[in-house]
Structures are given as structure tokens and as C-alpha cells.
């Protein structure tokens, strides 16, 4: 049985073998691996960059009190960036599935049009969701724009849904039953975490505090970025995004305010992108 940790190790090995830097999750709450500077900033400019890493991904709105077998508010992505794009990215991707033991020849694998967009990051791209027997297991995107900047060299982003792939391989019906390591399940590690964060996300988060934090982080991000202090500044942009997600899950953001919040994050993310490019000199 391929455990969850084996899956991570194997994918890491596979991408290390094709000369990717094996990165690590970012130490701040993110809604997707794209927020990690290893993707967001390094996708910019012409410098070649190949990286692969696990991202711990927070989606407060998917909180289900550990009761839904398919939805959790924190899960794991395996994120890959290949820049410039190789001539055979689909083949590289499909081989990685074989490498972790999926006998794709005997299954129904399809690349179904799904153009990806992240309004908060001012980013979009063309690509697909990859289906394995109807299950969406990966988002596959050719970035066209990041931080509001058109990309001259187009990176390929692969985002594997690790839990989904593991459930498929292990043939279990619930995330919580996944074998993380021999004798240890996903639920052993995260069940209480899921429950308590569901309580927090839906019931206990302090809207006043969060609203205030968003405002202050915005101020800090802006002043830092304007001084050209990139990474700390960008960190506050990441935090803004997470707080926005928390407020959104709490139902504290009306449809009209929503757009304004998104634009605030987007503006500063774009600023960070420009500053990164200036320093990189291309």
C-alpha cells in the first residue's frame, strides 16, 4: 500500500530526478501553492526555474466539522513549476502518475478545459483539470499573467490534489481513512484539527479583529513594498488574502464588499510582482 507520505516522497523523488528544486511549504497560511513565493515571484521574468513542493492549503469555506468524507478546510497540494515549459509537459505529468503506481493505460485520463484564474494574485492561465476516471486530480496551467504582468516566458504549473490521488490509490472513501504512514491515518493527525478549525472558521473567528488586521496588514504591506522591502511586504499580502478567506467563510463579507477586498489584495500583489522584477533586472 502506498501511504500518503510515500506519495509525497515519490513525487518529490520524481521531480528531483528531472532537476527540480524540491522546495518546502510556506510558513504562512495560503489558499493555494501559487501564493508561495517559490511560485508567485519566481514565475516572473525570464530566468529558468524548476521547483516542486508540498503546499499546506487552507480553504476555510470548505470546513465540514470533519464530517464530510471529501471536504476539509486544510489539505495538501503538490505544486510544480516548470519554466520555461518543456516540450512534453503532459508526458512528464503522466509519467509521474505512473511513477506513483497508477496504471494509467487501464484508466480514463483526460485533460478537460479549465482556464484558471486567481483574481487576488492578478493571475490567469490556460489549461485543464486532469481527470482520472472522472475525478479531478490535478490543475494543469500555462500561466499567461501573474501579478498583472504578462509573462514572456510561460511557466507550466501543475497542482496535484494529494488527498484525492491518495484516496484513489488506496481505494478509500474518506480522507480521514487515508493511511498517512503505516498504522497512522490522515484522521489520526487531522480529525480534531478539522473539527476545531471548522468551529473557529464558522463560529468563533473574531470578525472585528480580523477586519482590523486586514486593514493594518494592508497598510504595512503597502509601506514595506513601497520601500522596496519585498519579502516581508509580500508576506503581509499573503496574510491579507488568508484573512479575506476567513472573513468570507464567516459570512462577514457582502457581495459588494467582496470585490473591493479582492482588488486590495490584487493591487499589492501586483506591486510585489513589479518590485521583484525590478530587482531581478528583467
Amino acid at each position: 500500500m502506498l501511504t500518503f507520505q510515500d506519495l509525497i516522497l515519490k513525487l518529490s523523488r520524481y521531480y528531483a530526478d528531472i532537476r527540480c528544486v524540491i522546495g518546502q511549504p510556506y510558513n504562512s497560511e495560503v489558499g493555494a501553492g501559487t501564493f508561495n513565493p517559490l511560485t508567485f515571484l519566481r514565475s516572473l521574468g525570464k530566468k529558468p526555474w524548476k521547483v516542486a513542493y508540498v503546499e499546506i492549503t487552507r480553504r476555510p469555506k470548505d470546513s465540514r466539522y470533519a464530517e464530510n468524507p471529501n471536504r476539509v478546510q486544510q489539505y495538501h497540494q503538490f505544486q510544480v513549476i516548470l519554466k520555461p515549459p518543456p516540450e512534453n509537459p503532459q508526458e512528464i505529468y503522466l509519467n509521474s502518475l505512473k511513477y506513483v503506481g497508477i496504471d494509467i493505460e487501464k484508466h480514463d485520463v483526460r485533460f478537460v478545459e479549465d482556464d484558471w484564474e486567481s483574481p487576488t494574485l492578478g493571475a490567469w492561465g490556460l489549461g485543464w483539470e486532469v481527470w482520472l476516471d472522472g475525478l479531478e486530480i490535478t490543475q494543469f496551467t500555462y500561466f499567461q499573467q501573474v501579478g498583472g504582468i504578462d509573462l514572456e516566458v510561460v511557466p507550466v504549473e501543475l497542482t496535484y490534489g494529494l488527498e484525492r490521488i491518495a484516496m484513489y490509490i488506496q481505494n478509500v472513501d474518506s480522507i480521514f481513512d487515508l493511511q498517512w504512514a503505516p498504522g497512522v491515518t490522515w484522521g489520526d493527525i487531522y480529525r480534531r484539527f478539522e473539527y476545531e478549525y471548522s468551529v473557529y472558521n464558522y463560529e468563533k473567528s473574531d470578525v472585528k479583529l480580523l477586519t482590523e488586521l486586514f486593514r493594518r496588514f494592508e497598510k504595512d504591506a503597502e509601506s514595506l513594498l513601497k520601500e522596496g522591502i519585498l519579502y516581508p511586504g509580500y508576506d503581509f499580502v499573503i496574510k491579507m488574502s488568508h484573512i479575506f478567506n476567513l472573513l468570507d467563510a464567516r459570512g462577514a463579507i457582502s457581495a459588494s464588499e467582496r470585490q473591493a477586498y479582492i482588488l486590495k489584495v490584487q493591487r499589492l500583489a501586483s506591486l510585489a510582482a513589479r518590485i521583484y522584477l525590478e530587482a531581478e533586472g528583467d
Binding site: N70, I104, H107
Partner: protein
Amino acid sequence: MTDFLLELGVEELPPFEIYDIAHQMEMIFKEFLEENRIPFERINIYFTPRRIAVLITNLADTQEIWESEIVGPPAKIAFDADGNPTKALSGFLESRGLKLEDVFIEENRKGAYVKARMKGGGKSSIELLNAFLPGLLLKLKLTKSMRWNNSGARFLRPIRWVLCLLGKEVLPVEIGGLKAGNTTYGHRLKGNEKICVPEPRLYLKLLEERYVVADPVLRRETIRNKLHGICEERQLVWEEDDELLSEVVNLVEYPGVIAGSFPDKYLELPDAVTITAMKQHQRYFALRRLNGELSHYFITAIDNTEDLEREIGPNHEKVLRARLEDAEFYMHEDLKVPLESRVEELKKVVFREGIGSMFDKIERMKLLCEELRATNCNIRADLLYKALYLCKVDLTTLMIKDGKEFTKLEGIIGMEYALRQGKDEELARIIYDHVLPRFPGDELPLTQEGALISISDKIDNLFAFLKSGAQLSTSSDPFGLRRTLYAIFEIVKVKKIRFDFVKLAKKAAELLEVEIEDFNEFMEWAWKRLENYLEEKEGIRYDIVDSVIGARTNDLWEIIERARVLHQFYIENQKEFEEVVVGQKRAHNILQGVEPQAVSEELFEKDEERELHRVLNITEPMVREALEREEYQKALKYLRSLKPYIDRFFDMVFVMVDDLKLRANRLALLYEVRECFRLYCDFSKIVV
């Protein structure tokens, strides 16, 4: 004669866009061959998600030879005083590669010109293709395109290989930065090896051996037949869904088809929810039992062979189960709260920035519905108002709010939850009716109450958009304003909802405090759209609609009916129609600046005057009465009966006589005639 084959090997193209690209390719090649006069037998276009191919059979080796006459500069500026060629002539000769002895002078309508006969054509097809193919991608119109390498080429998705053969020969062209060869690839999973294609005619066969059905028509038929086969076997019915089938055809290279099922308990979900989960997300075909009920079976195309059904099928079932599980969770949670107690929550749901909440919107819709009620009978007021307050509450449900996938089910969820909470069936239906029609060609409200709420909702939407700065005159219609207005027209037309459009719009505008200039602009825009609408949907000439608009009525239904009947007259008897119009135009011109005045019979001099006046006095009340009874055909018939009298009047009576009294009286008579016609419409606005 040889066959030509071009195949672009691509990463999966978006399923609907493939059709468009394929069509464009066909047109581009057709144009190329016709323009260059290269005879050929047939252009075949094949495509799958991973390739687009053009196979031209029996292409001639060379283009035809033709002779054509070309015209140069006028003779008088072609030679100088000494008879030597001028710059104008030598420039012409040079540009066409001609010598002086090749040209001659000939008269045409504009005078004497230098001319030459040129021979064209005869070039080899290879040469022409080699020059044409590299620019192929630039000729395509792409909605959303990307770059993927440093060739600068753009396409929908990356191109990974190019195969290009003329007969057995590889054409040395480069497309999208890739050199053409004679190899292709088989099915990604079943036969992904390089395949050498020795000549174009073997293309389809070689691919089929590697599990690729490149002919989309064949894939479509195969999937359809298998679908029907499974249905027959299991006593099920598939309601033909052309859109979904067209999409699925381009999601597979090999048309495998398998059936699956989900637990019966999910059949308790509203059909629309279950079908959305199958169709929208998974592109599965939903099936019904012979009695019309939704069945727990589904069919899906797989891009693999059917012998793997046992491996693949259960996984598809699992995915669908998870989706349905989500939906069931939403519904279960949602039904805990009675719809009525959600009304309060609408105060927190923002309708539009700066325009207040959904609840505010409903209050406005209520006032508009009151207005509508006044002019429509058989409206059950109690049901109307009950439904009005409940029609938007599904916006507060998890299914619509959180279930990203199910948001399109607005209205349906309201209806389904109402039924599940034991509400009156009519009430539930009105809730659903109020969102209809959602798109062109969608079903229309079944109930009159639903029609009223729908109209009030839509007109409020229009002014809300205006209020938040949407532009009316843009051609692209990004906010769907035109579509919304068309929906109102459609409901009015079919459901015969009667109301003064200007009055209702004014009320809606006032409720949102829309500036008067914006309102005026709106009305102008809306009337123009009505012209477009009737022209598009009913083929009625815009000027006929224009003539009816503003003529005595602002009732949309009446305007549409009058225009229809008038158009019918135009179709049936174009000559008479035009003569009536010309007569009215003439009257209109003479009457410029004329004030109304009583006709005095004593001042009549001629029989034609007296006669016209007598007939008019009889006819006018008849026209009025017919219009009041909404018998437009009759009204028009009466008007037409006036025509001979008017014609005789114009023939025999001179209006602009010197005697001012006489002239005024004749103008007054003409004025009355025109006013009588204007009861129906302003004929002078019609173009002849």
C-alpha cells in the same frame, strides 16, 4: 494528382472551440485553393481533442493557367511629347515585369488606357503550399490564445507536432516553430507511439489501429449508438442533448461508452440538482425511465476501451456519489429552515453595491407588480405577494450560496424547497417562473403571476445596472442588458401581459432614483431594441415597428400586435401597402406646420372633397372601435377602404389653392385623414 494531408498535433483543445477552428481551417484552405485555382476533389477536416487534420483528395499538381487583362495608366499620361514612356508607364511595366512591346492601348468607358494581357498560373502546388502553410496560424481567429515556445506563434493550446504530406513527400514547412514531418501519434494511453504515415490516404486507418477515431462524425455516431443501445437494453430513455453530446465527442479520441449508477436515495434530490451534478461537472448523460422519472443510471464516454469498464466504472460512480453527497448535505441543512424565515435574511444579501439589499429589491418589485396588476386581470393577488417574498430566498440557501456548481439553479431550488416544505404547487411554480426566461430560447413563465414578478424583477435589474453606471449603447452587452429586455418582450408577447411600458419603466426608474436624462436615454434605447427584437424574432421590418411605437399606445403587447398585423399587410400586398404609405407621406409633407382646425362642409367645392369627408366620418369611429377591441386586422381593413377616396382627392383636388379659406379647409380635411391613420400608426415613418 495527389492527396494532401496536414495534421497539427496539439495538447487538448477546448471541446467547443475545436468545431470553430475546424470550420475556419476548412474555409481557409478552400479559399486558398480557389484563389490559386488549384483543382481538387474534396477537403476533409478531421479532429479530436489532440489533433486537427486537413485531408485534401486529388489535388492537382499545378494550378490552372489563365489569361487576364490588366489595366495600366491612362494613355495620355503614359507617353511624353516625344512618344517615350513616362514614369507612370515605366513604373507600371516594372511592377508587372512587362516590356514595352507587351502593352497596347485600348478604349474603355473612361477613355484610352494602357493595357496588357498577362498569363497567370501554372505554378506547382508544392510551391504554393510551401508559401501558404507557414502563415496558416495567423489566418485563424482565436478567442483566447497562448504562446508556448519562442517562435512567437499563438494557438488555443500548444502545438506539439506537425505532419504535412503531399503524396508521399514531406513538405518542408514550419508551423508554430515546428518542422513538419510524416509522423503522428496514436492514442495517449493505448498507443502513444510514433506512427509513420507513408501517404495521406492511410491516415485514418493508421490512427484507428492506434485507438484514435479521427473522424468526429464517426465518434459522434458511435457514442450515440452505444448510448441508445445501453438504453434499449436497460429500458431507459436518453433525451437527446445535442450540446452535451457535441462536447463529449471532443473529450475523447476513442469513443468508449459505459454505464454506471448511483444509490437510489439521491433520487430524492431535485432532478435539476442530480442532472446538474451529472451534466455540468462530469459530462455524464442522465437517463430517464420509460415513465419519465429520472433513473439512477448514467452513461459516460471514456477515452479508453469498454473492456476496462470494471476498472473505470466504479471510480466514475464514486466521483458522482461525492458530488451528490455534497448536494444532499446542502439540501438537508437548507430544509431545516422554513423558507419564510429566510425572508429576513434577504436584508443582509446585497443586491448591488449602493443599491441596497435583496429585500429592498423585493419591496420595489412589489410596487411594480401593483402597477402591473392594475392592467392585468385574473391575477391571484394572495399568491402573487406570497411568491414575491419567497422568490429570492433561495439565494440564502447553502445550495445556491456555497455549492458553486449549483448556483445556476436559482429559482429551481426555491421551487423545489417550497414543494418539500409542503407549499402550494402553484406558489412553488410561481417562484420558479420568476427567473424565466434565463437565456434566449429558455422556457417562459407558466403562471401569469410568475410572468408579472419576472417582468418586475427584470425591469428593476435594468435600472439597477444603469444606476451603477452600465452603458446602454455598447454593442457587446457585457451585463446582458439587451438580453434582459428581450426577455421582457418575450414574456409580454407570449403571456399577453398588458401595461404601459413607459409608465412602468418610469416607476422603476423613480424607485431607484435614476436621473431623468438616464431614463430618457433608456426609453430611446429600449424602443430601438424593440425594433431589433421584432426584426430578429418575427422578421418584421424595423421601420414598421418604428411607425407603431408611440402611436397612441405604450402597451408593448399592443405595439407588437399592431406591428405584426401591419407587417402581414405589407407581405400580402406590397404594392397597396406602399401606395398607402406614399399617400400618408404626401399628406405628412403638406401638413408640415399646419395646426388642427375644424372642417367646414360649406367650403367644399368638389365632389371628391365631400365624398372623402363623408366616408371618413363613417370610417373613423369604426377604426377607433376596432382598435379598442384589439381587432387590428379589422382596423387596418377600414383604413385601407379609405384609400380610393384619398387617391381621388389627391388626383382631383388641388390643396394649395390661392384662396386661403379654401386652402385651410382642405388642409383641415387632410389633417383629419392623417389623424385617422395615426390611430393605428404613423405611416409616414415607413420607408418606401
